[in-house]
């Protein structure tokens, strides 16, 4: 497993940066939310990568196995996944309300509508 080295971390960072690019460079609100979701999931990948132990098994106790992967990051990420879906649901509700009020979900159109007296 040493040949993998830091490959997982680099992929997680690349995914994070792709999500960040979508958030700051795209105008459509739903595309921004998709970028945020990609970012969140890539952060979870970074945490779960740290928890793996070479030669270990999943964190469920059973006779015959002595080496287990670390259960603690799994617990943190379980909470984080549920919080991520909650914020996604509320963000989608806000986007639907914005569409209802402004008629568009592109952010430059929304700023133009707001700028008019």
């Amino acid at each position: 497993m040493e040949i993998l080295g830091h490959y997982n971390y680099w992929v997680a960072i690349a995914l994070m940066m792709l999500g960040l690019y979508l958030v700051i460079a795209r105008g459509n609100l739903i595309k921004k939310l998709v970028g945020l979701n990609i970012f969140q999931t890539a952060v979870f990948l970074l945490y779960i990568t740290v928890s793996k132990v070479a030669g270990g098994t999943a964190a469920i106790l059973k006779e015959g196995y002595t080496l287990y992967s670390n259960p603690l990051p799994s617990v943190l990420i379980l909470t984080a996944i549920v919080v991520a879906v909650s914020t996604t649901a509320v963000a989608l509700a806000i986007i639907v309300r914005i569409k209802h009020a402004y008629g568009t979900i592109e952010d430059d159109d929304i700023m133009a509508r707001d700028g008019d007296p």
Partner: protein, 183 residues
């Protein structure tokens, strides 16, 4: 070898899917690809021995998030405006590349994948693994840590999801619609 090949393949597929999400303009296709991305991520986590988390991500990410986003896209329109999409924003790209380089430099000191001597395996985790059968008697370590050792965090998490339900009801529910009908 039985671990390296799925890991490398699945992570390459993840990168390809995320890149396709960035390039597409049809939002329905983007939401479908996001569901695929969540499922691939769940598979990566199974390979990394985090089975509880993979289960949750497959159910929540590939299931609930996809259906909620499809409902929202049905209510708001399915095409991204093409003018912004085709142009590559150089300033954002520069910011993103600089942040990525800083993060890669920061992770250069982190332990290799699977290192059993990593600091994260030293302090609290061995105590949970060794004491959990004697104190809780439950084979699934993640459930015993989540519900018993770290019960406060789980209480906060249930409160968060309850608040999200209330917030969505306030934003889109009966009260809003009744006020709209009266105007």
């Amino acid at each position: 070898m039985i671990f390296v090949v799925p890991d490398v393949l699945l992570l390459a597929l993840l990168l390809a899917t995320a890149f396709a999400i960035a390039r597409l303009g049809n939002l329905v296709a983007v939401v479908m690809l996001l569901g695929l991305y969540s499922l691939l991520m769940a598979l990566v986590w199974v390979v990394l021995d985090a089975v509880d988390v993979a289960f949750t991500e497959a159910a929540v990410g590939a299931g609930i998030t996809t259906i909620l986003m499809l409902s929202a896209v049905a209510l708001t329109g399915a095409e991204e405006k093409p003018r912004r999409r085709r142009r590559l924003s150089w300033v954002s790209l520069a910011i993103v590349l600089a942040t990525g380089a800083a993060l890669v430099y920061a992770t250069a000191e982190m332990p290799h994948l699977g290192d059993p001597e990593a600091p994260v395996h030293r302090h609290v985790a061995p105590r949970y693994i060794s004491e959990s059968p004697r104190e809780t008697g439950i084979p699934n370590l993640v459930t015993s840590v989540l519900a018993s050792y770290r019960g406060y965090d789980t209480l906060g998490e249930v409160a968060v999801i309850f608040t999200a339900g209330i917030a969505v009801l306030v934003l889109l529910g009966r009260g809003f619609r009744r006020r709209e009908d009266e105007e």
